[in-house]
Structures are given as C-alpha cells and as structure tokens.
C-alpha cells in the first residue's frame, strides 16, 4: 500500500516536467490553464502570459505537429496554438478541437550567420553551401518545400541537394546556424529576431513567400474551456497579440 502511494507521489512529482524539447512556464492566479503552443512563439508568449489574469497559464512549447500528435494520442491541454492552420483544422474535423481562429502571421526568410556572403536565394545553388531546413512533417519544413517548389526545377533540385539536415524544429535550425555548422537555413523572421543578432535575415521575393498563418483553438474536453476561450481571444486582440507583434509577427488577415 505504502509502495503504491510512494509510486503515485513520485509520478505526481514528475508529471509537471516533460520531454526534453518542451519549455514550460507558469504564471498568474486562478485555475491552471495548459497552453500547447508552437515553439516559434516561445519568447512572445512567455512575455505576455503572466499578464493573463483569469488563469495561471502553463505554457508547453514543441513543434506544432508534435503537439497535435499528443492531442491525438489523448493529451488534453486547454489551448492549442499552431504555426499553421492545417493542423488545427484537421483536429477540428476529427472533433478534437473547437473551430480554429487565425491570430497571427509570420514570414518565411532565409537565415544566415552574421557577416555571411549569402544574400540571395540563388547563392544556395552553389555546390559547397550547407543548407538546413525543417523536416517535412513540421510546418516550417512544409512551408520551405512549398516555397522551393515555386522555383525553376533545376534551382529547386540544386538547393535540395545542398540540404544537410532536416531538423525536427526551428531551434535545431537556429542552433546549427549560430554554431557555424550550416551556412543558411529557412526559418521564420521572428526566429531571426529572437536569435539576438547572431543571425541575419535574407528576405524572400514576395511571389515566393508562403502565407504563414497561425491558428488557435480550444481543445475538446479542456478542463477550463471558458478561460481557454478568453486566452485564445486575447491572442487575436490583447496583451499576447501585442507581444506577438513586438516579436515580429504580423496581424491575422481579417
């Protein structure tokens, strides 16, 4: 009996901590509100969540796809905020998420280490350039491939042939770039801003830019649906919307 209690206590102690690439932070008063959000919003949401008065926000960051997979496997955060609209739409169709709302946009850019000689997409076709991008299953990787597909075939193939790693999230791309291991990588403009001057952004031609729209929804069966809806609302308009704008995100197209 005592053993069981001990084991349960150990599990309870251990449960707030999670996998190795998820960050967490809690804040405020009121009921705990678990927010699963795409890694790219880490800085912005950590800055604004303490100001959310209706609940103690607990942030969990990971790749949008990974968070969606967790929800499909039965995890029940209150809010799911993804770096695209496809994943929330899919979850909505599967009956796992409320109808998603668009709340921010981001821009895909080419990130290069400071003082790099690369200043255009063309430079990536050279044989000796080391390129890193997101894996096909994460939004950043999907956006990148969509963009490259708009290039002439030979250019697209030359760039893909230079890909040295398909990273499971943006942090992996930024890390390889700031360590000087890679010459260029495709990330969001907000990631370059968050990297604190270690990286520079090369803007992509407007006609190549994908529409990167972030969507949020309330998870079906959430413990605190009311607070979850309020949190989602202030991502569109409120303290977190301001923090996102500060971090370089654009407003959602109305």
């Amino acid at each position: 009996m005592r053993c069981v209690v001990l084991v349960l206590a150990a599990v309870a102690l251990a449960s707030p901590g999670c996998g190795d690439d998820e960050g967490e932070a809690s804040s405020g008063d009121g009921p705990p509100l678990v927010v699963s959000a795409a890694s790219s919003m880490t800085e912005a949401l950590e800055a604004c969540s303490p100001a959310f008065e209706d609940a103690a926000v607990r942030l969990q960051f990971a790749g949008s796809d990974e968070l969606a997979a967790q929800i499909r496997q039965g995890a029940k955060p209150d809010v799911y905020a993804a770096a695209n609209t496809d994943l929330p739409e899919e979850l909505h169709r599967e009956g796992l998420l409320s109808r998603p709302v668009e709340f921010a946009t981001n821009e895909l850019v080419l990130a290069v280490p400071k003082d790099s000689e690369i200043d255009a997409l063309d430079d990536l076709t050279r044989a000796d350039v080391k390129v890193v991008m997101g894996s096909e299953s994460v939004p950043i990787g999907a956006y990148t491939r969509k963009t490259l597909a708009k290039l002439p075939r030979d250019e697209e193939e030359a760039i893909l042939a230079n890909v040295r790693s398909n990273e499971p999230d943006v942090k992996g791309i930024v890390g390889k770039l700031s360590q000087g291991a890679a010459d260029a990588g495709f990330v969001y403009v907000t990631d370059v801003k968050a990297a604190d001057r270690a990286l520079e952004a090369v803007e992509l031609p407007v006609d190549l830019q994908p529409t990167v729209t972030y969507g949020v929804g309330v998870v079906d069966g959430a413990e605190h649906p009311g607070e979850a809806r309020m949190f989602a609302r202030q991502l569109v308009d409120g303290p977190c919307a301001d923090a996102l704008e500060e971090a370089g995100f654009g407003p959602a197209q109305k």
Binding site: R2, C3, V7, D20, G63, D65, E66, A68, A69, R72, Q73, K130, V132, S135, E136, S137, V138, V163, R164, S165, N166, E167, P168, G172, G175, K176, Q179, G180, A181, A182
Partner: protein, 272 residues
C-alpha cells in the same frame, strides 16, 4: 514500521514479490504495447517504407564503427586503470565515467562546443579535412562519446576481478606483459568485457539527442533509427511504432545472443 513482529504472515517476501510485479509490469507494458495489434507481416511491410531500411542500415553501420573504436581504445585504457595505481587516478576514472550521467542534450551541446567549425578544436578538425557535423562520422563520434563509458566501466571491473596469481604465473613463466594481457587477461575478463560491449552497443543503438544536435538528421547520412522514429512520430504514428518494434527486436536479439554465448552470468555478474 507498520508490520509488528507479532504478525506471522511472511510480509517481507510478499513485499519483494509485489515490488517485482510492479517493476515487471511497468517495464514491460510499454514494450508490449508496441507489438499489440500489429502482425509480423505489418512490421515487415513497415520496413519496406521509404527510408526505414536506410535508417536501420545506418544505425547498424554507425554503431559497429563506434564499437570498434570503443573496444580498440577502451580495452587497453581500462586495463591500465584496473592494474595500475597512480596519483589522480580517481579523478581520471571520474572524468572517463562522466558522460554516463550527462543528459543527451548536454552531450550534444558539448560536442558542438568542442568539435563544430566554431568549436574550441573545430578549426583543427577542419584543418585535417574531417567534417563531422552533418556527416556519418559525426554520428559515430556522438555514439562513441555517450556509449564508451559503459564499456570502460565494465572492462575495468572485469580486469580488476581477474585473479592476480594468473597474471603473475604468466609473467613468471616468461611471458611479456603484452602477451599476458592478450592470452590471460582478456580471456579471463571475457564475460565482463562482453557485458560491457552489450551495454555500450545498446546505448549506441538507442542514442538520440546527441546525434540530432551534433550531427543533424538526414536520411541515409545521419538519420539513425531513433531519429527516424522521431521524424515519423507526428506524421505517421504507425510507421514510428513499426520502426520502434524493429529496434526492440534488434536490441533483444543482441541481449539474448550475449547471454547465450557467455552464459547468463555475463550480464548478471557484470554489476559487481
């Protein structure tokens, strides 16, 4: 404590049995879950999926290369540590064992800080024309870093446990130390060395974090089975499960063959 001495039921053996039952259930349930609802045919099908065999082949190759390095360097190093005493030996042993307790993420960061192009000896590594980051060689480095302490620790214990009179007899009969090492020490320590090899192999085969951070993830080059599993986790859970099942089967096969070849004391006796 709760059980008073007057109680005559054998409570202590009962506690032992319950503890073992809990441990067994907890440790086997997740592994069993991988295989539930999947026929062997489905698993074989999953192996035919693009990239799965590449990942398996890469994992086996990188692990084999890393083990070769570990055995070649680790065996004499462990022999020295087990048979000599010198000032600062405990510090050396601790340093060698340190990667055992490092989280994989720390190992990955540490390898980048040391060996990436902007790392402290990265320039020298680049200078001799070796690329590690994004290359299979980088995977081998990551595996070797995390797995070698498992072998060296076991090998040290195995050499230390060999009866010194055997070695002395060999030396008295005129054999050089090198010959005694090869003919007496290694055969006598073999069960422990095999156990250490199996542990290092298992650790290398399952390595994830350090490989991803240091070497990256590219099919056929750096994407080992654990990385391929992670890559499929979100997009294709069934494929991830199938690949996991393959890894479980391979690891179990290794464990069982070591036990068959060297007797069950090889792994059990290694704990001393």
């Amino acid at each position: 404590m709760s059980a008073s001495p007057r109680v005559h039921i054998p409570w202590f053996p009962a506690v032992l049995v319950v503890a073992l039952g809990l441990a067994l259930t907890f440790l086997t349930l997740p592994v069993v879950a991988i295989f539930v609802d999947r026929t062997p045919a489905q698993l074989i099908d999953a192996l035919g999926e693009r990239g799965a065999l590449d990942a398996l082949w890469l994992s086996l190759r990188a692990t084999a290369m890393s083990l070769a390095i570990i055995l070649l360097v680790g065996t004499p190093a462990a022999y020295l540590l087990a048979t000599r005493s010198f000032r600062g030996k405990s510090v050396v042993v601790t340093l060698v064992e340190l990667p055992l307790v490092l989280p994989p993420a720390v190992a990955g960061i540490a390898l980048l800080a040391a060996l990436s192009p902007s790392g402290i000896v990265g320039g020298a590594v680049e200078g001799v024309g070796i690329d590690l980051v994004f290359e299979t060689a980088g995977v081998v480095v990551a595996l070797t870093f995390v797995a070698s302490p498992f072998y060296v620790r076991q090998a040290m214990a195995a050499f230390a446990a060999v009866d010194r009179t055997l070695l002395d007899a060999s030396r008295t009969l005129g054999a050089s130390e090198a010959r005694s090492f090869a003919r007496v020490m290694i055969p006598s320590a073999m069960p422990g060395l095999a156990a250490g090899t199996a542990l290092a192999l298992g650790r290398a085969l399952g390595e994830f974090g350090a490989t991803l951070m240091f070497a990256g993830s590219l099919e056929g080059v750096t994407q080992t089975v654990p990385l391929a599993i992670y890559d499929r986790f979100s997009s294709n859970f069934d494929a991830a499960l199938a690949l996991s099942a393959v890894l479980v089967a391979v690891s179990a096969a290794i464990l069982i063959s070591v036990k068959l070849v060297h007797g069950s004391e090889a792994l059990g006796g290694a704990a001393r």
